[in-house]
Amino acid sequence: MKTRYSYGGDEHIFVECDEEMSLEAFFKSLSITTAVKKARIKGVTEICPANASFQIKFNPDVIKPSDMLKELKAIEKQAAKSKPVIKSRIIEIPVLYNDPWTHETLMRFRERHQDPSSTDIEYTARINNLDGVDGFVKAHSGAPWFVSMVGFVAGLPFLYQMVDRQRQIQSPKYLRPRTDTPKLTVGHGGCFGCIYSVRGAGGYQMFGITPVPIYDPNQKIKHLKDFMCLFRPGDIVKWKPIDREEYDSTVAAVEKGRFNLKMKDVTFDLNEFKKDMDGTNAKLMGALNGR
């Protein structure tokens, strides 16, 4: 893993922790950005961790770009010594797979897809050697996912599947991006899952939809009253497949302010996870389900 620094114009420093995605690269990005936050460097205005990289925005009238670079390199050295352990939250997100709304949308943009004759799930199941839609749902919802970045648009989580690389679902983005994606679509591009926080353009495959809002600029929804975005980097997501009936009742419960988001505080240790992925995931699931 080689760290690469670059200026982004005169107001940003962009740091690539690794060219390829891995949880190690993400933890490096998270530990350095956490240390930058703690260092309270004058002139820093934005600290943005991403999947395998991060970015600092600063005011060059307050701190010279070359000094900012020096500070970051010093922090990188220190952060390398920190243990890859974080306080995290595991959050259950119900998903109606193969729902009518993403289905309608994917049919509308079929000519922009790699395989116009099948749906996004069917296509992704096939290229990942999974046994049809059911096999896909099992693989997709079987293990938890790590929030390795929040962004693109407000509150959108990028999710990294917590299984070894051979078992990770991979699927290309659409050949040409769609101009429409239903709000709260559960999507996938490359090795990353996502939840579209708002309706809009998008290029990820569409697998289903969640009834749980993850962004509310008006902060009316119960679990978004403290802050308008649900996710932060380092969160862990567990998908829960649901049927149409549960989808409808959850939507109604959210509207009436009666929906309780299932969420538990957990500690995540990357070394422990690497030693025993399935065991660590089972423990996380246990924490989520109060065992």
């Binding site: 114009g9 962009f14 390829e20 395998a52 060059p60 070359s66 290309p172 975005c229």
Partner: protein
Amino acid sequence: MAVNVIKPGLSTTVQDLGRPGYYHIGIPLSGAMDRLAAKAANWLVGNKEGAAVLEAVFMGPELKFTEEATVAVTGAELPPKVDGEVRDTWTSFKVKKGQTLSFDFLKKGARAYIAISGGIDVPVVLGSRSTYALGALGGFTGRKLEAGDKLPVGKGRAVKEGRSVPEKLRRGPGQPAELRMIPGLYWHRITEAAGKQFLADTWKVANEADRIGYRFKGGKPLEFVAREQPFGAGSDPSNIVDACYPYGSIQIPSGTEPIVLHRDAVSGGGYFMVGAVISADMDLIGQMQPNTPARFVEVTMAQALKARKDRAKLIEKIKAGL
């Protein structure tokens, strides 16, 4: 007091100097695309530089005033009219109670800034009144203006009519527009010849040019350095593992049409970037119409910082003159 929106114009939004601090969760800075023009408009009417103004794209709104106020229009050459009578841009004028402010056709530039004494008094959301339309956040109920809206306006202080910014202090893009940029980020993904060609080509602003980003077309497709794509990046040679996008960063999906991200930038994604436009030239982009020819000009960090200082001096001069 309030201002009633009779006609909204094409895309008129409430903007101030933006909402820093939330880019890490995908909420961009927002704020006036031409910050110099927004500041000048505010100073002309006696507001603080960060008061909320209206940003009107290509076409002005029609606004009826319920109280007297001082108004100034800067940025694009979009001549204001009070009850049909033309007023100068970059100059303060009074609009009396019951009068209507409308606009003539656009003569130059792309975005006009309409400051009203007292400032547009929409609620402050996450530290700013700016509209982030994609996230339905801030501004007037999170969206562009519509007919029938009643815009709240704060209490202003009395300033003279006819205060003006001298013409030589107004800044706009040239023909072709020269956008200075520092090569970097993923510049190494394209060949040396492609890098030279990118800087030599004259591009044109495409129709997809908005607050999120400006797309350019007309240059030659860029050739990539061959590599095996890293895990998680995606198969196209222009793909990277999804990363943060700096403001002003120049991404070139598939190596064909560069997109420069602006104030409502998407905060990250999976396309490589060849560098970023320097902060001193970001305002200029906001004044470019579709089909404006443009060139990307390579500069060093030292040159970028010098340009930033020069721009700050220009802004100081405008302020001192008022």
